[in-house]
Symmetry: C2
Subunit: 460 residues, 2 copies
Amino acid sequence: MTPAAPQRPILLNAFDMMVPVHQSPGLWRHPESRADEFDTLEYWTSLASTLDDAGFSSLFLADVLGVYDVYGAGPAGAYRGGVQYPLLDPLSAVSAMAAVTNHLGFGVTASVSYEHPFLLARRLSSLDHLTKGRLAWNIVTSYQDSAARNMGLAQQIPHDARYDRADEYMDVMYSLFESSFEEGAVLADRTNATFLDATKVHPINHSGEFFTVPGAALTHPGPQRTPFLFQAGASPRGQQFALDHAEAIFVTGSSPRLVRHWVDQIRNGLEARGRDRYAIKIFAMVTIVVADTDDEAQQRLDSYAQYVDTESALTLFGGWTGVDLAGTDPDSPIEYVTTEANRSALESMTKLAGAKTWTVRDLAEFVAIGGRGPVLIGSASTVADELVRWQTEADLDGFNVSAAVRPADLQRVAHYLTPELKRRGLLLQRPDTPTTLRETMTGAKAHLAADHQGARFRRS
Amino acid sequence: MTPAAPQRPILLNAFDMMVPVHQSPGLWRHPESRADEFDTLEYWTSLASTLDDAGFSSLFLADVLGVYDVYGAGPAGAYRGGVQYPLLDPLSAVSAMAAVTNHLGFGVTASVSYEHPFLLARRLSSLDHLTKGRLAWNIVTSYQDSAARNMGLAQQIPHDARYDRADEYMDVMYSLFESSFEEGAVLADRTNATFLDATKVHPINHSGEFFTVPGAALTHPGPQRTPFLFQAGASPRGQQFALDHAEAIFVTGSSPRLVRHWVDQIRNGLEARGRDRYAIKIFAMVTIVVADTDDEAQQRLDSYAQYVDTESALTLFGGWTGVDLAGTDPDSPIEYVTTEANRSALESMTKLAGAKTWTVRDLAEFVAIGGRGPVLIGSASTVADELVRWQTEADLDGFNVSAAVRPADLQRVAHYLTPELKRRGLLLQRPDTPTTLRETMTGAKAHLAADHQGARFRRS
């Protein structure tokens, strides 16, 4: 293991989803929860404004394109429990949130499996323009058979082939973002009646195994050109994809030791590619329950237990792993059923469990608050200490902060924790003048770093 | 011809596009133009707010998915002139505009040719939720070969087959919007831990010639269920499609007499289907130049001539008709070259021209301000008189108002004309309490009318 890195500024990314239940099944029933207002603009503009004022770097919106229908071999559990369903388009509220914020970035999930790159590139560039360069794209390949079926496929594209196709997809996207419009192509020159310099707009002439896109992008690139790139692939092939493309990676693990394992893999992978170990920002998922004192925070967490929804927790687990635990004895140990499709998810769960033999009940309780990640509990000072410990021990850049009671637990982070982090000088200080998300996140330029493979698509 | 209908309230729909040049090529160079800010949020929130205050019913955003590359056999003319290019995603600013308005509806163009219905349904439902039921969908089948090529097709789907496929597409959309979630499916019942009543969420089991979508919609339907439906098909097959699906239809013609021809076809078509002649709202496109006096308005229009861009006008014409007039003598008469692909567009141009033999120059000048539609010029009183004449002679419900200088000419309509229309009691009065767009437009209920074919998909 490499030595612990020196303290770096902590980046905070809020982790949410336009659904009734994101990572903490059942907690939508808490009296303070407003999760059932997930389909209103007010929920999102209010949350964005709070996060912006508090000093968060970004709000990341997850997405799936199918219903969790493994548990009980049908969608009824997901329907009843509102488990990541129904779910709105994560791009839909971005412009409204941008209008009420100055610094906050918006990480939207969009699948390379079901959206055509020519149209997705325009959708992302449009939001990068409207947010003045505050857009991040969380690249996913989608993992649910239910999604594939609704897109007219008999089943999903096999796991590794999805990533091969995704690599070509990224080539198309880089071509559209980086090479289609040269710098200076947009003149808007009234005197000479020239909106674009036609010599600086280029067809990308992409003709590959999966995609044929001859033309130029439908729109000029936004302030970042390629939006800031998020990824969360955990499988070996997914991790290779992330190393090739991501500028920020999300990891999940119940202890700093487990997370460190993945962080080292990523940082070593970067070095093996001749890049800086810290060229990719790494965020670990945490759920935070913070209050005036440690006791109050613990009491608050204890009070959550009555809202936990075990069936919903197993519905989430089923969707993530492909393993249906419906009808099992809650006290029976889990026997992992490994198939090609669910191998990577199961491996990460096995690592989370460590040497311990878990029962179905243990598992449900573990997943029920904060999904697969840890819950940090305490006063602002205690949680700040915990974040520093996690950051140091796991060599992290930041945290993907999820709320158990939505949005209350994120509002409480803004109220209690971020002032404490600022007092200690731990929170990443954003530039005074609003800037692009890439600049905020990396301190470097608005465009892809020169050693990022997307930069190869640039015209010299 | 049926007799002129009695005066009905006038509906105003602003007609714009997220581009430098929409319908008036070259006018982006006018000193008052802010069209080159089309990629900023402020342009759109400011315009939406103005329209909302002025009493417009909706803002309609056009879209195309390719570049106008017929003129000069390449895209250079469209690039130089900013002719409907570059162009942002018309859905991208809707939530921001919704946040600063109370009544205004948002008509977004989305193609049934290149977006999968399962994903488009979610995108539209998401915006219908966030706008509280103020979304309209302008259904297009797309008409450019350049778009088809960028989506990986050798050429577009043939015209009539596009509409057959579009009909099935609509079946999928109605199923997702109308039948997937029964009324009362969303309970959000905290006491009984039931977010959705699982017995009221249904897979749509669509299996057709073009699409297979077994599952339920990804999200619950918005306040209108099916968004209010716009259409503008002008060909015989397109008009049949519009009669089957549209709740509002856009028509374009240079005189009330020409427009009346199409309006009668639509209203007769409705009667032939056993529906009310006025079941579909019909809007005619107009460009309005209004000022304190008739003279000032005329002077203003005259001053526009210096900004007209002839090449850009012929670029638009080429895209609409498939006819390349590059290199022709400006004073030579136009010889219409009719092919299957451009027949309908040419027919409508021929009708516009009437008996007159047009030169290329005439054509360019005609298209250069206001595209294929008329320009109404004068004081508020004069323009109001003109609108009443148009409405009466052409049996219209409203107007699709386009700006030559953007957004100045729409701001001037808000400043001069809508107060005059209100004084005369001509402008449709919106309900005091904000409501859905369908209720605003039709005075009826939030959901599709019982005799609309989408209503057949409802569960009893």
